[in-house]
Symmetry: C2
Subunit: 243 residues, 2 copies
Amino acid sequence: MRLLQSLTRGLRALDILYSAEGPVRLTEMADALGVEKSNASHILKTLVASGYAVQDDSRRYVAEPRKEEPCQGHSLSEVVTCKELCRPALESLVRETGECAHLAVLVDTRVWYIDKVDSTLPLKVDHPIGSLSPLHCTALGKAFLAFGDATLPEEKARYTPKTITDTDALMAEIARTRSRGFSVDDEEFAPGIRCAARPVFDARGQMIAALGVSGPSVRIDDARLAELGELVRAVPITPIQGA
Amino acid sequence: MRLLQSLTRGLRALDILYSAEGPVRLTEMADALGVEKSNASHILKTLVASGYAVQDDSRRYVAEPRKEEPCQGHSLSEVVTCKELCRPALESLVRETGECAHLAVLVDTRVWYIDKVDSTLPLKVDHPIGSLSPLHCTALGKAFLAFGDATLPEEKARYTPKTITDTDALMAEIARTRSRGFSVDDEEFAPGIRCAARPVFDARGQMIAALGVSGPSVRIDDARLAELGELVRAVPITPIQGA
DNA sequence: TTAAAAAGTTTAACTATGCTAAACAAAAAG
DNA sequence: CTTTTTGTTTAGCATAGTTAAACTTTTTAA
């Protein structure tokens, strides 16, 4: 086995840049690597040319933060910020529709309810905050399937006669959701409950949450469900600042 | 300026590994770089030797995730797993003590309540799930200050006459908390409420959540508070698997 | 301001390094 | 078991990478 000297040294230089407090001088680097400064210069220039480092205005070198995936998913901080920014939207939806509104985020293969505003009517839906629901039979879950990067679960449990358990049928439903701009749940998770939901995006255009309105079927016929969908879709949300 | 060929190629190989879906075969890499496979082999071996990649059992290469900060904080998935694993502890504490139990995670400068089990008694504490509270005057927050990596907030608002707003006094309180093994809140956030809390750690030994029991002061004298603290500290929690 | 020193870049030239090619070894497929 | 594919090692030559020295630029000192 033949280890490549210049590559080994270059990677070592990268290590040094990563673990350094601040910017690193050429001479320091040459000393640290135990090579001539001309050589260190070539190494560092190569790191810069490959996008692994940058040279600041005082000619010192800094490691370029790896872009790859800044971390998969959203941080707790982003999620809470989103929750707080979506609150007014939830409240105004409840005011306008009389039905309750929910906010949820994607966690692996389920949605996690992180906020809600209750309906004031005596007959009402109540998914408690902190509860988790499946993706394939809830409006919030379908929003993640249609607009987020959730993957269709293999297992699709049946909760009601209306639950869509066929993969192809669900794919078609998701395609419809995309073109419509909002997702619906027509008594697919719990009998007597209908729901319409939309995606909420972060500053990078990544879906971070789903926001929905749900109520009892007795108050929500097809026309009303479409109306709720449009209202949910149109409700203004303060843009979430990039992290 | 002289750019180093083998270093440039090595960094390009790293890029390919980082952006690849799964593990990369030697031959693919050689093709992608436009070099002989023997050369690609040397490059990859060098990346491995420098700790930038690893070779799996089927001899394919994967980029080693940059260790530095594996990502700050916990993922939603870890948090929900923790919540579900802590549920039995919350329930058993409520059964044993008659008071209510809460679970919270750290979000920036506040704690976020993500689960609770209510007391069955008519006079009870109720921090709703989804709400956020400050660190310096709650038992859950103090647990993060003492056992987690929360930093002491500059602004320490006064909520009750007992709220500790002096930095030195709070530091002393945190030191006491560390040696005691659990934190307490003696009517520092809301009059008439006392609370005892403990940290919950993940597989890496990082604090992920705080778990506490709280009740009305009329039922909780100093001796009872110490007793609750010991109960909270001793309650068994299923270890959280590493991510 | 000027001179001296230090830090960084470029050039030149030699040889050790890192390529290609080919042989060898080890898995995987048939 | 044989064949094919994939990965590793070896050999040897050409060149990429090293050192050393010249040259620039920036910083420090006078």
